[in-house]
Symmetry: C2
Subunit: 221 residues, 2 copies
């Protein structure tokens, strides 16, 4: 005898939520938000064992949050559509608004200082146009190469201190990274402010910037 359609529906909705309920899978989704990737590349970026990574990706696929295609012997995964991003974002918003623990972690990232408000993407676009900001891309070099905001400077957190002397102290620095789940920009802003720079974080990251239809530059194809 079949279970009630009501329960069957709820099971399906729950399946989608369950796919989002493991940190490892959220991490994979964050990577995929940057662009499509193969299993091996995703495993390396997220620090997962390859078989394990593949299994997580299959769960995401079952929940229809990602899709895959074959390219030779590789299988390339990507986000199904913008709704996946919306879900991730809403999840984060609810957690940030209501969970004390999240606030504590974010405060910790900012070195105890009060972090300034993030800059909206529209504001950044306007300020880039008038040339009054330095844009800092705080992601690994390969992700920067795959696509970044035109005119952005690329640095990792560890290199940041070394290149600080070269930065223009008179212009405000806007840092961004992979997106709302990524903490690099938070940490970069904290480090810069500690050294006397005027710095803020971009709201969202490259995926959101791209989603807005704003220009993205790739170093090599």
């Amino acid at each position: 005898m079949s279970i009630s359609p009501k329960i069957a529906l709820l099971e399906e909705y729950a399946l989608v939520a369950r796919a989002l309920s493991a940190p490892a899978r959220l991490s994979l989704l964050e990577q995929l938000a940057q662009g499509e990737r193969g299993v091996e590349a995703l495993a390396e970026k997220t620090g997962l064992n390859i078989a394990n990574c593949s299994q997580h990706l299959q769960q995401l696929r079952r929940a229809a949050l990602v899709t895959s295609r074959r390219d030779g012997k590789a299988v390339i995964y990507r986000l199904t559509d913008a709704k996946t991003l919306e879900l991730m974002d809403l999840l984060r918003i609810v957690a940030e608004r209501n969970l004390a623990q999240v606030e504590r972690i974010l405060r910790g990232l900012s070195g105890g200082e009060d972090a300034p408000e993030a800059v909206s993407r529209a504001d950044l676009a306007a300020r880039i146009a008038e040339g009054s900001v330095t844009v800092l891309d705080v992601r690994p070099a390969d992700e920067f190469a795959a696509g970044h905001i035109p005119g952005a400077l690329n640095t990792t957190l560890t290199e940041l201190e070394q290149i600080m002397p070269e930065l223009d102290k008179s212009a405000e620095i806007i840092a961004y990274c992979r997106g709302p789940y990524c903490v690099y920009a938070h940490q970069a802003v904290a480090a810069l402010r500690k050294h006397g720079f005027s710095a803020r974080r971009l709201e969202g990251g490259l995926p959101e910037w791209r989603e807005d239809g704003r220009p993205v530059l790739s170093s090599h194809l």
Copy 2:
């Protein structure tokens, strides 16, 4: 040694998703979307054991999707804010758009027939104003009493066939129930159409209608 803040953040986001990953909890949220309730009432409506129900509610509270207050010896739960509804809705949208299984279930609810498009709440409001529709509330009587669309007729699915003769065949019937997770309206529309009525489903349910700021009538306070 503490884990990285990055992972800690993802754990928190995952906690919210996990709270949404059990059909029982989605069912509780659906009930709470109707209005605040005590544990016992929720247990009865969802068919859960009381202790079990309490535990599920606590998980929802840990994820900040619901809040609770004491009222005498009772503990009253309610949705934290509209974001919780948004999350539930987005979950449903992703599942409906991308999961074949969901489509199959929904088609089954409509008795194999092609179900007509749902009516938007704005359209219904306009048509109520001009008096050209019969509004049907397909929820249990107690929920109807607690709040319903003014002018709506209340019936359960089982009683529907008996009251059909009293219904105006010339006016279109718009059925609604608890909301997008609820299947009563789907089933009522299917039954009505099978009997030759012109019937459609309201998009969303009473919680969404109320959220829009539209009038809601309670039979007793």
